[in-house]
């Protein structure tokens, strides 16, 4: 956790802090519930949980404006909740039901929302990187002032297409924020064993792309770095890289026994660097909220998450006719 940027002083209002607490807690509780439903056999296939990384998306969404776009990998539940997608629709997609965002046809790794400018949910490691630059290309072409948050992991950072994309994004000045969510393990391989550079963001220097490392367990540090990156892109200065040092508490996917790291390493991170606990402490120590205020938020989140699970169980499986729809779009009239 050699992150350069840590914010200890609070320049966020009580309302903002409470919102971050709430949004991060929603992701945490939602993911715990998803893990539970997976164990019950209600969610199948691959399911990659975001627990531990909540401050990354919540901090960056705090720096985004309406109309900005986001795209990510298959570890996507947190991004969807953070950009305002309906937990019911997300959970029902996980269970493969009609009420899911993709009508049950995409699953955990392939979800989209045109309304919330969320462009997936991509299952091929690093494929979302040129796709995200393409979204930014479209915005620059239209000259609409929008930026695209293109998220990928430390594992994806070793794919060739990332650097093909860095080259073109820099060459063409695309308004794209490359967000490297460095959770330190590419499935079961640590960064030390897979990556020649200690600081992945510095690879951008070869392309003339500025960037920085950020403490991803500190939502305020993430937000502040996000604002720098957004301002850079919106000013027409081209892409920006944020390497956000974070940590996932759970395995790579539900079927990962996580034997590549010690239980103590995970526990130490949970005890000492938990992003939700950090905001909770800021709220209580700064007298911005009482225990009762936070309990009320916990209760509200529990209700939302339980409702999403109920919805995801009750929503019917897609009609078999859905097998044959959405393969081709109809010609515009």
């Amino acid at each position: 956790m050699a992150a350069k940027k840590t914010t200890k002083k609070t320049n966020a209002s009580a309302e903002e802090l409470k919102a971050y607490y709430r949004d991060m807690l929603l992701i945490r509780r939602f993911e715990e519930k998803a893990g539970q439903l997976y164990g019950m056999g209600l969610i199948g296939g691959f399911c990659h949980l975001y627990i531990g990384q909540e401050a990354v998306v919540v901090g960056l969404e705090a720096a985004a404006e309406e109309g900005d776009k986001r795209i990510t990998s298959y570890r996507d539940h947190g991004h969807m909740l953070a950009c305002g997608m309906d937990p019911n629709g997300v959970m029902a997609e996980l269970t493969g039901r009609e009420g899911g965002y993709s009508k049950g046809k995409g699953g955990s790794m392939h979800m989209f929302s045109k309304e919330k400018h969320f462009y997936g949910g991509h299952g091929i490691v690093a494929a979302q990187v040129p796709l995200g630059a393409g979204l930014a290309f479209a915005d620059k072409y239209k000259d609409n002032g929008r930026v695209t948050f293109t998220y990928f992991g430390d594992g994806a950072a070793n794919q060739g297409q990332v650097y093909e994309t860095f080259n073109m994004a820099a060459l063409w000045g695309l308004p794209c924020i490359f967000v490297i969510e460095n959770n330190q393990y590419a499935m079961g391989t640590s960064q030390q064993r897979s990556t020649s550079s200690a600081e992945i963001w510095e690879r951008g220097k070869a392309f003339g792309i500025p960037g920085e490392a950020v403490d991803g367990m500190d939502v305020l540090a993430v937000k502040s770095a996000g604002e720098t990156a957004v301002a850079h892109c919106r000013a027409g200065k081209g892409p920006y890289i944020l390497e956000i040092k974070t940590y996932r508490y759970r395995g790579h996917s539900m079927s990962d026994p996580a034997k590549y790291r010690t239980r103590e390493e995970v526990q130490k991170m949970r005890d000492e660097r938990d992003p939700i606990e950090a905001v909770r402490t800021l709220l209580l120590d700064g007298k911005h909220a009482t225990e009762d205020d936070l309990k009320a938020i916990d209760k509200e989140i529990k209700k939302i998450v339980n409702e999403s699970a109920d919805f995801a169980k009750e929503s019917p499986e897609p009609h078999l006719d859905e097998l044959w729809t959405d393969i081709y779009a109809e010609m515009e009239a």
Binding site: G41, K105, G123, P130, L131, A138, M254
Partner: protein, 459 residues
């Protein structure tokens, strides 16, 4: 209310497992994230964490028990204020089980494999009205005109690829387009197929209508993940919310003396992918009309061109807005003795063979498919029902060829009409050699088409 802790599914394929070891005992307090037990799945030993907070009231399955089915109750968790004595008194809250799939439900749209052979519905309207003024144009010029007309019509359309702008196109297809449309819409890319194909797909997601040129489709193998996984599948995976309206185009198949890595025909590969449309035209009018349709189509289109055809001239209708619909074959020559089906450069062999066969009194009907997905199988079936004989012609490899697919359709839909086995004429089953004499033998020849026709007509 007490909560039953159920045997979890801990991998995509796990149906049962072994409870290797309890890490908690009755009376222990657990909270979310605490490890309760080690469970052996079919792949690994996994730690099983608590989700809810409470006290372990009762352990129902002992350490070392094997073959425990997923969703079997393994322990009972007590919540605030409950005691173990309550367990027998109150029925624990049952976790809901997955809703079973109704296996009886069947799809009405499933393709029927029937034995009846209804008359196929075929669109036989001419491509242009009688009396339309025609002009001679090369395939190269027709392609450029098709793209340019659509770029004038829709400012979301842009062209990107290697050497398309300042160099005027590696094969001079985009000659003059940079001057007309400017560097914003005619974009030179670095040599980075995987990257620029992905950027093109992202731009299509973002509301533009990209034309992505590959200098040849051989190089598109570096980009095929974006063509298939990103472009073709997104509409389906998003439940219809977003897709990739765009064209991937460039020369495909053998040119001349460029060896194995630059000479592959990808028709059969792309034709296999649901979500893609695939055009492979032969004549200049089809290059133009199909390109305009491809650009307007709201789906990803693979447009397979041919370098040898670029310089050939054909009649092109002199119309303001000439388009050719997808999924409509063109009958180049009518005949009653045999049906020859081809597409792209294969049509050169098919038409030459038909000319020579006519001299021997064999009248071949020659069909140009023009698009492979959708494929006008109706036109093939209708013709086979008349001629009772079929030869397919393509430059690609024999195993898993376009002709193989056509043969299966004809066998299922018109078996009773066939008087001879269908023959698929293809390129030879070898990488393309460089030596002039070997290359000639590796490619399809008109003589082979003629021999195949004679075989199916028993001449």
């Amino acid at each position: 209310m007490a909560i039953e802790i159920l045997m979890p599914a801990l991998s995509p394929t796990m149906e049962e497992g072994t409870l290797a070891k309890w890490m908690v005992k009755e009376g222990d307090t657990v909270s979310s994230g605490d490890i309760m037990a080690e469970i052996e799945t079919d792949k690994a030993t996994m730690e099983f964490e608590a989700v809810d907070e409470g006290v372990i009231g009762k352990i129902l399955i002992a350490d070392g028990t094997e073959g425990i089915k997923v969703n079997t109750a393994i322990a009972i968790l007590l919540e605030d204020g409950e005691s173990a004595d309550d367990i027998d008194a109150a029925a624990p809250q049952k976790a809901s089980a997955p809703v079973p799939v109704d296996k009886e439900q069947s799809s009405e749209d499933a393709p029927a494999a029937g034995m009846s052979h209804p008359e196929p519905q075929v669109d036989t309207t001419p491509d242009w009205p009688e009396g339309t003024k025609l002009k001679q144009q090369t395939v190269r010029e027709a392609l450029r005109d098709g793209m340019s007309e659509e770029m004038r019509r829709d400012d979301r359309v842009f062209l990107m690829g290697e050497e398309v702008a300042e160099y005027q196109g590696a094969y001079k297809i985009s000659q003059g387009m940079l001057d007309e449309f400017g560097a914003k819409r005619v974009i030179d890319t670095p040599i980075t197929e995987h990257g620029f194909a992905g950027i093109g797909v992202g731009a299509a997601f973002g509301g533009l209508r990209p034309i992505v040129e590959f200098m040849t489709f051989n190089f598109a193998m570096q980009a095929i993940d974006h063509i298939i996984n990103s472009a073709a599948k997104t509409l389906y995976m998003s439940g219809g919310q977003m897709g990739a309206p765009m064209v991937f185009r460039g020369p495909n198949g053998a040119a001349a003396r460029v060896g194995a890595q630059h000479s592959q025909d990808y028709a059969a590969w792309y034709m296999q992918i649901p979500g893609l449309k695939v055009a492979m035209p032969y004549s200049a009018s089809d290059y133009k009309g199909l390109m305009k349709t491809a650009i307007r189509d709201p789906n990803p289109v693979i447009f397979l061109e041919n370098e040898i055809l670029y310089g050939r001239s054909f009649d092109v209708p002199d119309l303001d807005d000439y388009t050719v619909p997808f999924g409509k074959a063109r009958i180049w020559r009518e005949g009653g003795d045999v049906t020859i089906v081809s597409f792209g450069i294969g049509m050169s062999y098919a038409l030459e063979a038909a000319d020579r066969l006519a001299e021997e009194g064999i009248n071949a009907e020659v069909i140009d498919l023009r698009t492979l997905r959708p494929m006008d199988t109706g036109a093939i079936l209708k013709s086979v029902m008349k001629t009772n004989r079929l030869v397919t012609v393509e430059e690609g490899w024999p195993q898993g060829s376009v002709g193989n697919y056509i043969s299966s359709v004809v066998m299922q839909e018109a078996f009773d009409y066939l008087d001879a086995p269908v023959i698929n004429c293809t390129g030879k089953d070898v990488p393309m050699p460089y030596a002039a004499n070997l290359e000639k033998h590796a490619l399809l020849t008109t003589d082979e088409v003629i021999a195949a026709v004679k075989k199916v007509t028993y001449k």
